[in-house]
Amino acid sequence: MTTDTHTRMSDEQLEKFGEEMDAIRQRVIADLGEADATYIRGIVKKQRQLEVAGRALMYLPPAWPLAVASLSVSKILDNMEIGHNVMHGQYDWMGDPGLNSRMYEWDNVCPSSQWKYSHNYIHHTFTNVLGKDRDIGYGILRMDEDQKWHPYYLGNPVYAFLLMVFFEWGVAMHDLEVENLVAGKRSISENKALHAGIMKKVKTQALKDYLLFPALTGPLFPLTLAGNATANLVRNVWAFNIIFCGHFPAGVATFSEEECEDESRGHWYYRQLLGSANISGSKLLHLMSGNLSHQIEHHLFPDIPARRYPEIAEEVREICERYGIAYNTGPLHRQLGSVAKKICKMALPTRRSKATDPGTVVDHKLAA
């Protein structure tokens, strides 16, 4: 767990640190090529095969669990290692329309265009800046003690559970900023166009998973429907857990708007680093999480192909050690436990004073 070691970086140190990060970026970008293209095409092929296998196995009732497993893995790959990363522009350099950030649409009820705005722009630019990064609690949860407590938050664990189950829907609704509507900070008319986009996407997704494919299996309709719904649920639960481990385990820092005003490039990197957490584990875990198990590297270099994060991680760790910056990582069960604890703790008003609380580190204004 971090203490406030990070407040000790001077401006010069920050600048040097930023340069080291830029150097990593440059090196990897210059090296992109055939191997990266082959890799992502291989993953797309796997994903398509698993999807077709999953749909086909629905015709064999005894193989139902296998069908669901296959379809679930396919949806997870589609959303994470392919969708999330392609929509970050990681493969735009290939010039392949099928892997282009502007054209890719994922198997999820949230339309890609809206997700790119709230995720690529808002979340990745204002990472962990309270009041700006709407991924802190998704407008539903209290995930930081600097969010003012309200009796509503007593339901924090319940909301978190519901968000997990209905994650793709939560992500789609995210952009409507319902909490700002309720608070009167946003007008309904601002949501009109967004709403139309979401409805269109919801219809395509629902038609396919809840009507057409089940109907094609004839008398097995209910079973196929249940199978498809389960696959969507499995994807939701998995994605929610991976994503919550990326920013909410103990020791992750949040920032105030003032301290990020006119921030230097070095400070930007530094904020991304302190605001993210990794999950350690096997190659399979990294693949199934779309390499978001390397959330730190992803936030430092969001447009570098995710398969490069493991190799980058070693360098980033070494740099962190040299500068005395905490590098938040741990196995899945530990990060999950830590997130769960925080969700429960934030349901209650914060009693202790900030300075002695090891749960969340709030970055202090850097000595300028």
Binding site: E34, R48, M94, G98, W106, K116, N120, Y121, T204
Partner: protein
């Protein structure tokens, strides 16, 4: 693929079942030659036409059944994955006679020193290679002018690689039974640098010798286009339906010769002229959609666009969110974060972190 299979593949139902990716994203995993809407082709043969400094080759392509065919004089966009896995797309004139849906056709390509795609096609393409295609495009087609509805004489004036679309016309006419008896004399004038640089030399020779009322005139070296020479060949050239295609200097002379005659149809061949990379702000930046050109200030394209009152979309302004991606159609840009320069035409760039180096055209 049979027409029935094609109908099934492009059906609404299959579209809904494969949403959001679409049928082609599944078919390509099995066989690159299966497609519901996209067009791809397999290279069947590569024939060397000329050698020398800028060799020319004719590439025969077997397209997918989605190819809708082409009319003589049209071009097609060809995308290839050059080593490094970056797909690059360029336009090439179709050199073969008109094709029907799904039928083979050829493109004839000259390897330019800076032409990534043309060099790849001429030197490295081998039978079996898959390329990406657009449908045929372009209006340089065999149509008569409204003023003279039928049985006209036809005149072709071409230079260098500009012969390619005209060759498609000529081949189409001859294939479809053109024999001169309809009293539609065809005059074909071509300017090449040297006899060694002459594309389709043998075929043109054969056509010239055959009894078909096509007269072929080949000119080399210093024997360049002049109005007087054309007048000697075709005294009433301004009243003759003419198709002209060639390098810019020649085309200027041709246009001058025809004045405002509506009988002239032209196709323009653009050779990329890019200045070598320099760090200083030089040249002019053009925002094509808005139609404004001004001196390059050296700032990012986003800033230069805003300074001119444009409001391109943006988000982070630091190169991470991709909200600002726009198409750079010409010129070189430098990524201000990495210093990397790129000069591919028709390339998508993040305008918030791209500064123009020299002349630059952006689709904004």
């Amino acid at each position: 693929m049979t027409p029935l299979a094609q109908r099934v593949l492009s059906s609404k139902l299959l579209g809904a079942l494969t949403a959001p990716h679409g049928v082609d994203r599944y078919l390509e995993q099995i066989n690159p030659m299966w497609a519901a809407t996209e067009v791809r082709a397999r290279v069947v043969e590569v024939v060397r036409e000329t050698s020398g400094e800028h060799p020319v080759a004719t590439v025969r392509l077997q397209p997918t059944t989605t190819w809708r065919g082409h009319r003589a004089g049209q071009y097609v966009q060809v995308g290839v994955e050059v080593p490094g896995a970056r797909r690059t797309t360029r336009c090439f004139s179709i050199s073969s006679a008109e094709s029907g849906p799904g039928e083979e056709f050829t493109i004839t390509v000259r390897a330019h020193a800076e032409g990534l795609v043309s060099k790849f096609l001429v030197h490295d393409a081998e039978p079996g290679l898959t390329v990406h295609l657009s449908q045929a495009e372009g209006a340089f087609t065999l149509s008569e002018s409204p003023a003279t509805p039928t049985n006209n004489r036809l005149l072709y004036v071409t230079g260098g690689s500009g012969i390619t679309p005209a060759m498609s016309h000529l081949r189409t006419l001859l294939r479809d039974g053109y024999d001169g008896r309809a009293n539609r004399k065809v005059t074909f004038v071509h300017y090449a640098r040297s006899p060694e640089d002459q594309i389709f030399a043998e075929e043109l020779q054969r056509i010239a010798w055959a009894d078909n009322d096509v007269s072929v005139h080949l000119r080399y070296g210093d024997d360049v286009f002049t109005e007087a020479a054309l007048r000697r060949l075709v005294p009433d050239f301004r009243q003759t339906d003419t198709w002209a295609c060639g390098p810019a200097p020649m085309m200027d002379l041709v246009r001058e010769a025809y004045g405002d005659s509506p009988r002239l149809r032209t196709e323009f061949f653009k050779l990329s002229t890019r200045p070598a990379g320099t760090e200083t702000a030089e040249g002019e930046v053009t925002f094509a959609r808005e139609g404004s050109t001004a001196a390059n200030t050296g700032e990012s394209l986003l800033e230069q666009a805003e300074a001119r009152g444009l409001t391109p979309e943006f988000g982070c302004r630091m190169g991470i969110c991709f909200s600002c991606v726009s198409r750079k159609t010409e010129g070189t840009v430098r990524n201000v974060l990495t210093g990397e320069e790129s000069s591919l035409p028709d390339e998508e760039v993040r305008i918030c972190v791209s500064a123009p180096v020299g002349d630059c055209v952006v689709d904004l």
